[in-house]
């Protein structure tokens, strides 16, 4: 009998029961809740007069709508009345149902996918869900983590379970080594460029290979975060010594004997040597260059040394059409060099790239330099209050501010522009976030997805540059 994949093992450990046609009831260990996708779920519970099944399995944090400017007055600092009601509703629901919440002015507040691992709420071997597609991030811990809709949020609150069909197994191996200046973000953008935004649809992706083993846990979060941009609801990396070291000592992590037992169990969480995957993709680390997305879908990405594609040379009509629309929206010409794309706005933040290592990488590039005169806005938005505090202790805030960046309070911010942080129409933004859809960062805004180091280099140059050449002098 063939061996099991990591996903097979995680799945089997969580099946409560399975019906004849393969629909399983699976147990959910952790649910994270934010203000945008939960109000209707709590309302549903109230209407049906139901209680949460296991209150302590849930944790809540507002992130999408919170302002990133001065906000010492808490919820009252939110100017937009509709957004304010939504955050207030989360506070009220958490209180009413007894759910732990990291409120706006709690130092532990931040983007839900940064806060979960940081607090030790996300552990290897868990099933983790949240009404948010980037829940795939938590798979970096060796968890089965995926986004769900609001009806399912309500279902998990009420039953601690979900009805699911098993996904197929895909393994993406990144072998060899990465070049200096190439990071986790470039790896995942290169993967999406290769398999497309629907390449992972129906699969759970395990990221493996020497590049993933060598990568830090935070880097793995960046890769798993964008599994959803490759169409896969879940991405994961087998836990190892790095994962265990990361978990140790976190506030909600196990301690003492129980931790010892947990570690023994986590060491079993990997794909057997003879496990069979339904699909396998291999990339060579040395071949991956810094990436820049040029279009309005994450798969429309090129190496920084590359050129914007020409729809006339595309044989698939649907794809040629997408390229044409994207060129038009982005205001770019077919065949132009990636390094000729101008940059007006820079955003360093989001659940993809707002952890301490991301900020360190960006700071290393801008240190002692100034942002270009054409840059109209350059934001650094730490992923959580604790990341912000750590960065300030290391003096990163000063480096950014000296260079001309604004140093903000934690939240989703310009990643989706639900709060006041927006890319103006027609402007090009070098962004460390994960989606470049039309209007994502503000109506008419033009998003280019890049790594923190590439965003920082673009801020200094006023257009995209190959960060490897900038770093050459160091």
């Amino acid at each position: 009998m063939a061996g099991k994949t990591l996903y097979d093992k995680l799945w089997e450990q969580h099946v409560v029961s399975m019906d004849a046609n393969g629909t399983a009831l699976i147990y959910i260990d952790r649910q994270l809740v934010h203000e945008v996708t939960s109000p209707q779920a709590f309302e549903g519970l109230r209407i049906a007069n139901r209680k949460p099944w296991r209150v302590s399995a849930n944790a809540a944090v507002p992130d999408h709508n919170v302002p990133t400017t001065e906000r010492s007055a808490g919820v009252e600092s939110i100017e937009d009345p509709i957004a304010r009601i939504q955050v207030q509703t989360l506070d009220n629901n958490a209180k009413e149902f007894g759910i732990t919440e990291f409120k706006m002015n709690d130092i532990r507040q931040g983007i839900v996918h940064v806060v979960g691992p940081e607090q030790g709420l996300t552990l290897p071997g868990m099933t983790v869900v949240c009404g948010d597609s980037h829940t795939s991030t938590h798979g970096a811990m060796g968890a089965l983590a995926f986004g769900i809709g609001t009806s399912e949020v309500e279902h998990v609150l009420a039953t601690q379970c979900l009805l699911q069909k098993k996904m197929k197994n895909m393994r993406i191996r990144v072998e060899g080594k990465l070049q200096t200046g190439v990071g986790a973000k470039d790896v995942v953008l290169a993967i999406i460029g290769k398999i497309g935004t629907a390449g992972g649809t129906g699969y759970a992706i395990e990221f493996a290979g020497s590049v993933m083993r060598d990568m830090s846990v935070e880097g793995r979060m960046t890769v798993c975060n964008m599994a959803i941009e490759a169409g896969a609801r879940a991405g994961m990396v087998a836990p190892d010594e790095k994962t265990i070291a990361y978990v140790q000592g976190r506030p909600f992590a196990p301690k003492g004997d129980i931790m010892t037992r947990a570690i023994a169990a986590w060491k079993e969480l990997n794909s057997d040597d003879d496990a069979v995957f339904d699909a396998e993709v291999v990339l060579q680390g040395e071949e991956i260059e810094p990436q820049v997305s040029w279009g309005t879908s994450p798969e429309l990405v090129i190496p920084v040394t590359g050129f914007v594609p020409d729809p006339e040379q595309e044989t698939d009509a649907v794809r040629a059409n997408s390229i044409r629309r994207a060129l038009d929206y982005m205001g770019l010409k077919a065949g132009m060099a990636a390094t000729d794309i101008p940059v007006d706005v820079v955003f360093i933040g989001s659940c993809t790239n707002s952890r301490i290592e991301d900020l360190r990488q960006a700071a290393a590039v801008v240190k002692g330099k100034k942002i270009a005169s054409r840059i109209e806005m350059a934001l650094v938005v730490p992923g959580s209050g604790l990341v912000k505090q750590q960065a300030e202790q290391e003096g990163l805030d000063v480096i950014f501010k000296d260079a001309g960046f604004e140093w903000r309070e934690p939240g989703c911010s310009m990643c989706l522009a639900m709060n006041a942080d927006r890319v103006p129409a027609g402007k090009h933004c070098a962004s460390t976030s994960n989606r470049n859809f039309e209007g994502r960062q503000g109506a008419g805004g033009r998003t280019h997805l890049v790594s923190p180091a590439m965003a920082a280099a673009a801020a200094v140059a006023g257009h995209f540059v190959d960060v490897r050449t900038v770093m050459g002098g160091n």
């Binding site: 409560v16 046609n21 629909t23 009831l25 147990y27 260990d29 945008v36 996708t37 109000p39 209707q40 309302e43 139901r50 296991r54 302590s56 999408h64 709508n65 509709i82 009601i85 939504q86 552990l123 071997g125 868990m126 009404g131 948010d132 986004g147 769900i148 809709g149 609001t150 009806s151 309500e154 279902h155 009420a158 039953t159 379970c161 629907a198 649809t201 169409g231 896969a232 609801r233 992590a253 196990p254 301690k255 129980i258 931790m259 037992r261 947990a262 169990a265 879908s297 649907v318 794809r319 997408s322 629309r325 989706l416 522009a417 639900m418 989606r435 859809f437 039309e438 209007g439 994502r440």
Partner: protein, 213 residues
């Protein structure tokens, strides 16, 4: 919970691949704490020439005449015909809420994003996957025939075209059962409370760290 059995309705085309949830319902409308009222803002950025804000009265907003759903011949459509990877992007259930509130009961495409696909069933929208060739044929027929209608029959899992062609489609047995009977997922799961409890109790013993809170 919603019922769905059979439907004969006008078809509207949306000839784009990778239609994402940000396009289906832009983020400014996600601030609502309600489930309803999203229909007038469905596809807001494509549908109107001005910028939409929550609570706006949409009746007098300038419409984009080039957007297919704005054409008079497609008013009242309940079936949306579109291209591959429909509903990609976020997990927001606001997307199917908006489509349902707009009036769509079924979406036909060559493929869907997973989370959107799931969310659709829970909101009484039947997502139907057909091959690229059949989708192409339907686009051509819709374009050529004003008032083009399809009949979707869930019990027999088939679609009938005006010319009498019958196209079969796949649907998961459990989801079909829930849609046909209008069953509430949570109620069904709670009938298995004893099973869940015993799984949980065993897990507390075998993996106590999962309950370390």
């Amino acid at each position: 919970m919603y019922h769905f059995t059979a439907l004969t309705a006008l078809v509207a085309p949306l000839d784009r691949a990778n239609v994402d949830t940000d396009a289906i319902i832009p983020k400014q409308f996600l601030k609502s704490i309600k489930r309803s009222g999203f229909g007038p803002f469905a596809f807001d950025e494509w549908r109107y020439l001005d910028i939409g804000e929550p609570d706006m009265d949409c009746t007098h907003r300038p419409k984009n005449p080039d957007f297919s759903l704005n054409q008079p011949r497609y008013q009242g459509a309940k079936i949306l015909l579109t291209r591959r990877n429909f509903g990609c992007g976020s997990s927001r259930e606001h997307a199917p809420w908006a489509l349902k509130d707009y009036g769509f009961d079924a979406v036909i495409a060559p493929s869907f994003a997973d989370i959107f696909f799931n969310n659709s069933f829970k909101n009484g929208i039947l997502p139907i996957v057909l091959s690229e060739e059949v989708i192409q044929q339907l686009f051509e027929e819709v374009d050529a025939n004003e008032g083009y209608q399809l009949t979707i029959d869930l019990p027999s899992q088939s679609i009938s075209t005006p010319s009498g062609q019958v196209i079969a489609f796949e649907v998961d047995a459990f989801r079909k059962h829930c849609l046909l009977n209008g069953l509430d997922d949570i109620g069904l799961t709670l009938q298995r409370a004893v099973e869940i409890k015993s799984y949980e109790d065993a897990r507390k013993v075998s993996m106590p760290w999962m309950f370390n809170e």
